[in-house]
C-alpha cells in the first residue's frame, strides 16, 4: 500500500511539473526481486487512487526478469528462477545481480 501511495506521489509531482496535465497511464518497471507482487500492487493502487485525480489513471506494469553478470560466460545472463539464482547456461551462482531489483516509474501518459 505504501508503494502504491509513493507511485501516486511521483505521478502527482511529475504531472504538476508539466502544467497539471491529466495522467492517462502510469508506466512502471517492477523487478522480480523488488519484493512486490504485481496483483497486490494493482489492488492497492486501486484503493490508493479512489477519490483522487488518478481515479481513472491506468497502471501499466512491466515485469523485469532477473539478469546476472556471469563470471564464466563473461556477460549478462538470465537465471533459472527466483528459487535458483544461477546462470541458465553454465550454472554459475549469481553473485552479481544486474537487473531484477527495479521499482521505478518509467513514464507517464499525459492527456493533451
Amino acid at each position: 500500500m505504501s508503494i502504491a501511495l509513493s507511485i501516486l506521489e511521483v505521478a502527482e509531482e511529475e504531472a504538476a511539473r508539466h502544467g497539471g496535465a491529466e495522467v492517462e497511464a502510469i508506466h512502471l518497471k517492477v523487478g522480480a526481486l523488488a519484493g512486490v507482487v504485481k496483483e497486490a500492487l494493482l489492488s492497492a493502487y486501486e484503493l490508493a487512487c479512489e477519490k483522487t485525480p488518478f481515479e481513472r489513471t491506468r497502471l501499466v506494469i512491466e515485469e523485469v526478469p532477473i539478469m546476472m553478470n556471469c563470471p564464466t560466460c563473461a556477460g549478462e545472463r538470465p537465471v533459472h528462477s527466483l528459487q535458483r539464482l544461477c546462470c541458465v547456461d553454465c550454472e554459475a551462482p549469481a553473485s552479481e545481480i544486474v537487473h531484477g531489483r527495479e521499482l521505478q516509474v518509467t513514464a507517464l501518459e499525459l492527456v493533451e
Binding site: V10, L33, Q83, I97, L103, E109, E112
Partner: protein, 227 residues
C-alpha cells in the same frame, strides 16, 4: 489533429525518498561509529529472544548496544528487551507491516548515536514487505527458526536475497522437529548464493558467542573502511 496521449519519460525510483533518507542515516551511523543491524523474519521465529541474548552478551563484553523494535500494536517486545539494561525503543507501526527509514529517523531523535557501538533494528514480523525498504543498516539478518521448515527460503526468496546473513534459530529444537540443516542451507544458497549462515540457540546459548564474535569483526571492518 488529435495527437493521442503524450508520453513523458520519467525514470523515477518509487522508493527514492526512502532510499535517500536511508543513505543519510547510513552516513550518520558511520560518522558516529555505530554499527547497525536489522532483523527480519516471520512472526514467532525467535527474533526477540535472539536479540535479548545478543544485547545481554554485548553488555557483558562491555559494549554499548541499543535497539529499536517495530511492532504493529504492542510494546511487549520492548519491555522484554529492556531487561538487558540496553536502551530500547518501540516503534508502533499501526497498520503498516514494515519499517521505513523515516520511522527510524524519528525514533532516533532523542538518542545520541555516539553513545552506542551497536544499534539493532527489529523489523515487524513479515517476510514480504520489509525487503523493499532500506533502513540505512550495515547488515540485514534474516532469521529462520528450525520449526518453520527448510523450504522457507524458496517460498520467500526476495527477503533472503536482500539480506546479508541468515541465522537459523531455535537450534535446540532441531532434533525434535527433524530439521534438515543441509537442505535448509542448500535452499538458502539457491536463492542467495554465497550467503553466510549461522546457527544458534538463544535459549541454550549454543552459537551465540560465535555470532557475537562475527558481529564484532564486522563492526571493526566497517569502521576501518570508513577512514
Amino acid at each position: 489533429m488529435s495527437a493521442g496521449p503524450r508520453i513523458l519519460e520519467v525514470r523515477h525510483n518509487i522508493l527514492k525518498r526512502n532510499d535517500e533518507l536511508a543513505r543519510e542515516l547510513r552516513d550518520r551511523f558511520h560518522n558516529a561509529g555505530v554499527f547497525v543491524v536489522s532483523l527480519v523474519s516471520s512472526p514467532g521465529s525467535g527474533k526477540t529472544m535472539f536479540l535479548e541474548r545478543t544485547l545481554a552478551i554485548l553488555k557483558e563484553r562491555g559494549r554499548r548496544p541499543a535497539a529499536l523494535v517495530g511492532d504493529l500494536a504492542t510494546e511487549n517486545d520492548a519491555a522484554r528487551l529492556a531487561r538487558s539494561q540496553a536502551p530500547v525503543k518501540q516503534i508502533i507501526t499501526g497498520t503498516l507491516c514494515h519499517l521505513e527509514a523515516a520511522m527510524i529517523d524519528n525514533a532516533l531523535a532523542e538518542w545520541r548515536l555516539g553513545d552506542f557501538d551497536f544499534l539493532f533494528i527489529e523489523n515487524v514480523g513479515n517476510l514480504v514487505c520489509p525487503s523493499s525498504y532500506d533502513l540505512g543498516e550495515d547488515l540485514r539478518l534474516v532469521l529462520l527458526s528450525v520449526t518453520e521448515g527448510e523450504d522457507k527460503p524458496l517460498k520467500y526468496p526476495t527477503i533472503f536475497n536482500t539480506s546479508d546473513v541468515a541465522v537459523i534459530t531455535k537450534a535446540d529444537l532441531a532434533d525434535a522437529v527433524e530439521f534438515d540443516a543441509a537442505a535448509a542451507n542448500a535452499n538458502i544458497q539457491a536463492v542467495r548464493p554465497g550467503m553466510r549462515v549461522l546457527q544458534v540457540s538463544a535459549k541454550k546459548g549454543a552459537g551465540m558467542e560465535d555470532w557475537i564474535d562475527f558481529l564484532a569483526a564486522r563492526r571493526e571492518s566497517a569502521l576501518q573502511g570508513k577512514s
